[in-house]
Symmetry: C2
Subunit: 364 residues, 2 copies
Amino acid sequence: MPNTDVISFSRGAPSLDIVDTEGLKAAAVAALEADPAGVTGYGTSVGYGPLREWIAAKHGVQTANVLITNGSMQADAFLFDELVKPDSPVIVERPTYDRTLLGLRNRRGELHPVRVQADGLDVDELEALLKGGVRPTLAHIIPNFQNPAGVSLSGDKRVRLLQLANEYDFTIFEDDPYYDIRFRGEQHPTMLEQDAENRVVYACSFSKTVCPGLRTGYLVGPAGLIKTIAEAATNTYIAPNMFAQATIYQFAASGALDRSIATVKDALEERVDQLAASLRAHLPGSEFVVPDGGYFLWVDLGEGVDCAKVAAAAADEGVQVVKGTDFVLDGGETCLRLAYSAVKADRIDEGVRRLARAVEATRA
Amino acid sequence: MPNTDVISFSRGAPSLDIVDTEGLKAAAVAALEADPAGVTGYGTSVGYGPLREWIAAKHGVQTANVLITNGSMQADAFLFDELVKPDSPVIVERPTYDRTLLGLRNRRGELHPVRVQADGLDVDELEALLKGGVRPTLAHIIPNFQNPAGVSLSGDKRVRLLQLANEYDFTIFEDDPYYDIRFRGEQHPTMLEQDAENRVVYACSFSKTVCPGLRTGYLVGPAGLIKTIAEAATNTYIAPNMFAQATIYQFAASGALDRSIATVKDALEERVDQLAASLRAHLPGSEFVVPDGGYFLWVDLGEGVDCAKVAAAAADEGVQVVKGTDFVLDGGETCLRLAYSAVKADRIDEGVRRLARAVEATRA
């Protein structure tokens, strides 16, 4: 009989205890008090003015370089609509976010997966592809706490990737929703801030620092491209949600955002340490890199494991995981993605015990 | 020298005095108190559950027939993406909403404009087109207080239009954002509620009854089509804005929505009566139908007028209007659209005086 008290390592979403709902109430009221016309009016497709300025200041760019969207996946969609035509060569990480793969495949891009190592994209493999004649339009890179691998791109590799983009004339899509939730280790500079030749389009989100339900993300990029995408956005929905954006702006301006980020980081660090300890204890043969931030741990269960069977058996045991094959065009059969963002620390060990039983059952 | 105290008849948006910002504050707080997990979580692409149920009950349909979107223009965009392929024949009203024309042209639909009369679409002209061999995929109809013409489709014509859709096998896109803001006259049944053969896809919005900044609209249609569009929406932005939707739900549940609609209707009726009186006084040769609801009055200034010149001269006089040519594929040169939603009654006469001076100047 399926376990009804389910523990979910499947969804990259925060548990409610690390969302500041009181702060959001105050921010919503403050937004309507400070700027009732701006909050209730249509606005324009580039986004709510004060939040746009706040984002520009955060990244050291002009407001003309910023476009706010209804979640960062909408930003991806606009960018892909603009740059990815049928048969456009696109570099993707292997493994990578399943929705990114789907978005690129739906636009019939020609995908070239490049392996992710413990320090991020294998830049040598990319360089060999480029030397072999592949001429990408775009390289999609999740530089921090990659989804699903949990690893980050090293500082040296960021520099080399930018050099390759300049040399081979492609755009780097730096997809960086986890930037602010590094809980240990050194923050590397973004490729955006090192970009001298307008090669980088940067995406981020407030889903991981405020909450997902306000559906607010953004793009930073060359002013001409931002203008083109702003026009497409006008024709799609006039403007992104003004009320949500103004609430986020007030949340940031009041200091609640910094407190929220601190809360999230503390909780995630505790969770990932527990997860790593439990995996070592209950699945001693498994291999993984312990993330320094973000939501996800990628675990390789080793030879002979079929992740689809494990995921099904795990569901029967009352623990949800996502099978590795969802994040690659081929391969990934022995891997799982474990999202620790939604599971409180005191439930993690029980979740891993259930997972270990499931692995055992599929081996039997 | 341009007049700096501008009166704008150009934008279809409400003035701030008819937006219940206090009610919105209370609704936002109530939303976060009642359902913190639902409001702050990702949600799913069909929309926030309680609001979806509220919409289904309002229209007497199942929740499976409802999809909530980030504004109703996003709903249009999803529907057009699904039904309008290059060279798909599409019936549009003449004149019609400029953004609808743009959305259809961008998808390279083959547009067949059909004249709008004082009682809505000329159904005889449509029937002649159909008998002549045109086989539309879709007919886009704004049945109430049409944008820009301000007129409504009669009850008889609604019945005939449905008959034609059944006979000639096309979808009616009933685009009805102004439904709730009829301030006089009899409400006709929607085509949606008379549809026995799944011919109608209905769109509406909370922009005119709550405010535009919450960017919330919706589609009602056949469950299969809604499911297909929900999948496209998931791949575009995961889910529409949960916070805005939950705020609207609480606004409706508390009774604030009904009060807001009453406020809006009272103000618009006063404004349109003043506008009609001022046009008769200062532009006695002009022709127009006084709307029974909605935001827009369409005025024909008569032979020899060039609306582009009038609009430019009006801007110099300190009044903004939209030229009629924006709302048709060709023609409309003697017409203007006047939006009275954003101009308080005591400023309307001055606005029309300025407009009359502009008309006079272009005739000289």
